[in-house]
Symmetry: C2
Subunit: 356 residues, 2 copies
């Protein structure tokens, strides 16, 4: 059993904690948190031992009825591996804590790539993490791009990727974030950091990315162009290729899923925990081939697509399962893949409109 | 066993179907739906027999792999009671269908009160539905107001209610609805229909309501003033009274839940199906007494607060359990009440800010 500690119990940390608890080969030692709030209460309700980051605040937790199991130092000491899911930049500050206890750690994509020896995606470079002590799971957007790039590169070769990332302004509980009525170039300089970040996984890939943020909290949406070296005969070949990927959902036209809100509604209907969508969601109609130029649009759930990647990173760093074995076990235990949509016959509808 | 059919399988219908399936004394005969889409596929995945409203579209369902159990006429015939969860106005058109089959029916609050003999809330007038063949569960907002009015009226007497309803523009999957950047008086005439609708349950209540809609999809938020006839000594008495209500959550300051998005995040953390919140959510700090004027703010989840009311309406109309028995069974089977928040000591924080 791999004993896992989670440092940082927010949007990602609480989801990774649940995912780790669902693995037959892992045991959750506990979670560490800074502030006493409803999320801390949720940890207690879930039965997770709660450790404090700041010892001077133990009494604050106790006052709201949250038992404290110890300090983050103690959690790191008793864990075989720690997942650091603290806010961007804090992870780098925490590395010395993990080194002090000689505890390997998984960092998140909000950290600079230099925080770890390896930037990681389970589909792309599982084996590279086996000899590392510190691994960084790339961000939600980079994960989404990499899952799309990998099969296209293998099947057709890629001359160049150009991607526009229309990013959600904040998560549903981040009431202080903007924009509230704008589409904001973010960053205004091009490329955004996402292109170089994808290159931490595909060093030779030619990729430019443009980032914006918009007033939604549901999902990111990517508008993508990939110029292929050896394009297939038909865009249906590309659809079949993408549909065969483990962590990809092809959104069929007949389902009448017209946006991220509808995708989230479907995930809620399917009983997904927290309505999470761990997979890239590619609109099947959007997959279009114009000569060697492939186009498509995909939605990426910022709160959850890196969760299975963290689980796989834990196995990769501890070296006890192969990549295919780990990915398969993760997919099975989390329930990845919308069988309901995937297994149905494809039927195209004629509903295109042009009203703006 | 009460055999229940659901006509209309959208936001409310799919939730009522799940809730009926969870009742030990009910059996779901099936659900009827107009369009083949992801929600229809969800019904199949849930194992619910699917009936078509429009026989000419049977082939469309079959083309996407959805088996059709029959027509809505057949569903109504084999059901002891039908829940009509069709869009506003369609329910009234459907009444003749139910009469033709001599099948009692529950309508939703989008219909005019004249659609049924009784407008219904389980807390307020359960017994009145016992002799009726047609019952209308009042709307989400009216349900939320009525749950608040009932205990205040009983404990202190009410001189007058004045409520401003800041309503969500649409549900998460209603991508075509507005507003996108406005706070829209809706309706601009005062009172809005909500006040008179509350009076279908409390005929003697003096209540004026003002309605607006804003660009959110999460929940409605009500700003409420109730002038009490015999106010208590302290607002803490009111807090205790409201905290004792079955379908009310008092949102404590220490939980740091600052808006509807955060409430929804908490519900997701708690593993609520679809992240639903069946209860009125009253911010504890907002409960304020100024002489005989009581003020508070509450959030109402438009997609789900009427679901337990529909379940109770089914039992009331069929007359086989008392109100307290039905409400208790509904609460238990759905998991109503956030024990995690409710059972903790109250601690007030000093965090008020004034930045706009």
């Amino acid at each position: 059993m791999l004993r896992v500690g989670i440092n940082g119990y927010g949007t990602i940390g609480k989801r990774v904690a649940d995912a780790v608890s669902a693995q037959p080969d892992m045991e959750l030692c506990g979670v560490a948190k800074v502030s006493p709030d409803y999320v801390a209460i949720g940890a207690v309700e879930a039965g997770y031992p709660l450790y404090v980051v700041d010892e001077t605040r133990i009494e604050e937790f106790r006052e709201i009825g949250v038992d404290v199991a110890g300090t983050v130092d103690e959690l790191v000491e008793e864990s075989d591996v720690v997942v650091d899911a603290t806010p961007s930049g804090i992870g780098a500050e925490n590395r010395s804590l993990y080194e002090r206890h000689d505890t390997p750690a998984i960092f998140q994509g909000g950290e600079d790539a230099t925080v770890a020896e390896v930037s990681f995606n389970a589909r792309v470079n599982y084996d590279e993490a086996e000899d590392a002590d510190y691994v960084r799971v790339v961000s939600c957007n980079t994960t989404g791009l990499s899952r799309l790039v990998a099969p296209l590169e293998e099947a057709y070769g890629i001359e160049k990727v150009r991607a526009t990332l229309v990013r959600r302004g904040g998560d549903p509980n981040q009431t202080g974030r903007g924009p509230i009525n704008d589409a904001v170039p973010d960053p205004v300089s091009i490329p955004s950091h996402h292109g170089p970040d994808v290159q931490t996984l595909f060093p030779k890939l030619d990729i430019d990315t443009i980032g914006l943020k918009v007033p939604t909290t549901m999902m990111h949406v990517h508008a993508i162009n990939v110029t292929l070296e050896n394009p297939p005969a038909s865009e249906d070949d590309v659809r079949d290729l993408l549909a065969a990927q483990e962590r990809t959902i092809m959104v069929p036209e007949y389902a009448r899923i017209d946006g991220a809100g509808t995708l989230k509604d479907m995930a809620a209907d399917a009983g997904r925990p927290r309505g999470d969508i761990w997979e890239n969601c590619i609109w099947e109609e959007s997959v279009t081939l114009q000569g060697s130029d492939l186009y498509c649009m995909q939605a990426i759930h910022q709160e959850s697509d890196v969760v299975p990647e963290n689980v796989d990173a834990l196995r990769a760093i501890s070296g006890h399962l192969s990549g295919p074995e780990s990915r398969s076990l993760t997919n099975e235990t989390l329930g990845i893949g919308f069988g309901g949509l995937r297994d149905r016959p494809v039927k195209r509808l004629d509903t295109q409109t042009a009203d703006d």
